[in-house]
Amino acid sequence: MPKILIPTPLRQFAEKKDSVEVDGSTVGEVLAALTAAYPDMKKNLFNDEGKLRSFVNVYVNDEDIRFLEKDKTAVAAADTISIVPSIAGGK
């Protein structure tokens, strides 16, 4: 099953796990499975229209899905999906 890496700020919504394996053959399916398992994650990933929030990037391996086929990007069992929200801390 593809592995999703959960970033630090979102781990609180996923029982503090840093990675989760879920079923799915596209990015959209995998993220839907993730938010089905952890409903609190949903509002942090998607806006009210159900679109991925613009300060959250999703990568399949090292490539940004915006430059692949977005939520229709195919994922294989060996792929790693990274969720990378913007963080601003510096102090």
């Binding site: 630090t8 300060f55 990274s82 913007s86 601003a88 510096g90």
Partner: protein, 383 residues
């Protein structure tokens, strides 16, 4: 104006650089003639400023209007206990001058704004962004794009860091990576979420390394690549950052500096605070009066367990914000409920959640337990 030789004093000081062919006299002269602006002299800015000063970067600008607080010292190693209360730029300058008196330090003790950013940044070859908020991140990025100055970027949160080089040649910028900021409150800051003290050391030195490489023109810059560092797993990962396809050749997004507070949905700091306190707010003093009068109300603390262990208000029942949606059944919808957290942000969210779930008498204790410590019980430690 550019220096064409090193003094004997400089040759002695920089000898470990000079004997490396990748730097040599030529590279050291590049460092001596370089002008680098550091935005922020906090967690990230501290190691960057100290190492760039030590390396002999000829002119270092420091932008910071903050003063040194004792809670900074766990990570901001450029400042010491004796500096608490001093302006950060003064304290930083003192440390840097001690490390290397041969460099020039320029202090800007102002908040960076759309009105002054271009004027300040245009004096420099490279910017290192180590600020702590989204409006300034976007401001620094946009100013760098408009001026064509590389922006060596890093940010940190708890155990995690991100670093990259933006705006170098035709490479991507911050807005190519993240077109928009998160709405306020959705992404916690270090002040709210905490940061491992050594994290900015590691991540700041990645930033400093990239600055030095850009000056020397050596190696492969961290451009078009987002470096992710996780201290807990001790893993570095790298993701691709591509330039916005609509911006090939020239940026089509950034035309001028804008109102970044508004862009990021942050209320203007200079705007007067709304004087009439909302009827759904309650001050710590009023909460104390309710407790003293044995009033029938429920006080809920929505901080995390580890914060509760630092300090607490005796009457309060702990339900961390993340658990609240699942634990609503523990609460009486008709009860008089007061919610508090550390500073008032999370408790405001908890109030919204309860009201949306049909609770009618919910109030937010303004200023959280920090305000409780300030105005009711100074024996409660502040963190």
């Amino acid at each position: 104006m550019a220096a064409t030789s090193l003094t004997n004093e400089e040759i002695g000081r920089y000898s470990r650089h000079l004997i490396m062919p990748e730097v040599g006299v030529e590279g050291q002269l590049k460092l001596k003639n370089a002008k680098v602006l550091l935005i922020g002299t906090g967690g990230l800015g501290a190691p960057v400023a100290m190492y760039l000063a030590a390396a002999g970067v000829g002119k270092l600008g420091l932008v910071d209007f903050d003063t040194v607080d004792v809670s900074n010292l766990q990570r901001q190693v450029i400042h010491g206990t004796k500096d608490v209360g001093k302006k950060k730029v003064d304290s930083a300058e003192e440390s840097m001058k001690d490390i290397n008196p041969l460099i020039e330090i320029v202090k800007y003790e102002v908040p960076l704004t759309s009105a002054n950013a271009l004027e300040i940044l245009k004096e420099y070859d490279i910017v290192a962004d180590g600020t702590d908020n989204f409006p300034t991140r976007f401001l620094v990025n946009d100013a760098c794009v408009l001026l064509g100055i590389p922006n060596v970027y890093a940010s940190i949160f708890r155990f995690e860091g991100q670093a990259t080089v933006f705006c170098k040649d035709d490479g991507p910028c911050y807005r190519c990576l993240y077109p928009e900021p998160p709405p306020p409150g959705l992404v916690p800051s270090c002040a709210e979420g905490g940061v491992l003290g050594i994290l900015p050391g590691v991540v700041g030195l990645i930033q400093a390394t990239e600055v030095i490489k850009l000056i020397l023109g050596a190696g492969q810059p961290l451009q078009g690549r987002l470096m992710l560092y996780d201290a807990l797993s001790m893993k570095f990962r790298e993701l691709k950052i591509r330039r916005n396809p609509e911006c090939q050749g020239k940026c089509t997004v950034i035309k001028e500096l804008i109102d970044y507070q508004q862009f990021c949905g942050v209320p203007h700091e200079e705007a007067p605070l709304p004087a009439p306190v909302s009827s759904t707010d309650i001050t710590p003093k009023e909460v104390k009066q309710l407790i003293d009068a044995n009033a029938d109300f429920t006080l809920i603390d929505v901080r995390e367990v580890h914060e509760y262990q630092i300090c607490k208000i005796d009457k309060a029942q702990l339900i961390p914000l993340g658990e609240l949606p699942r634990r609503l059944a523990e609460l009486d919808k008709e009860a008089d409920i007061v919610i508090h957290c550390k500073m008032g942000g999370r408790s405001a969210k908890a109030c919204d959640l309860l009201r949306a779930s049909g609770f009618s008498k919910v109030r937010n204790m303004t200023g959280g337990i920090l305000a409780w410590s300030d105005t009711v019980d100074p024996s409660v430690p502040k963190y």
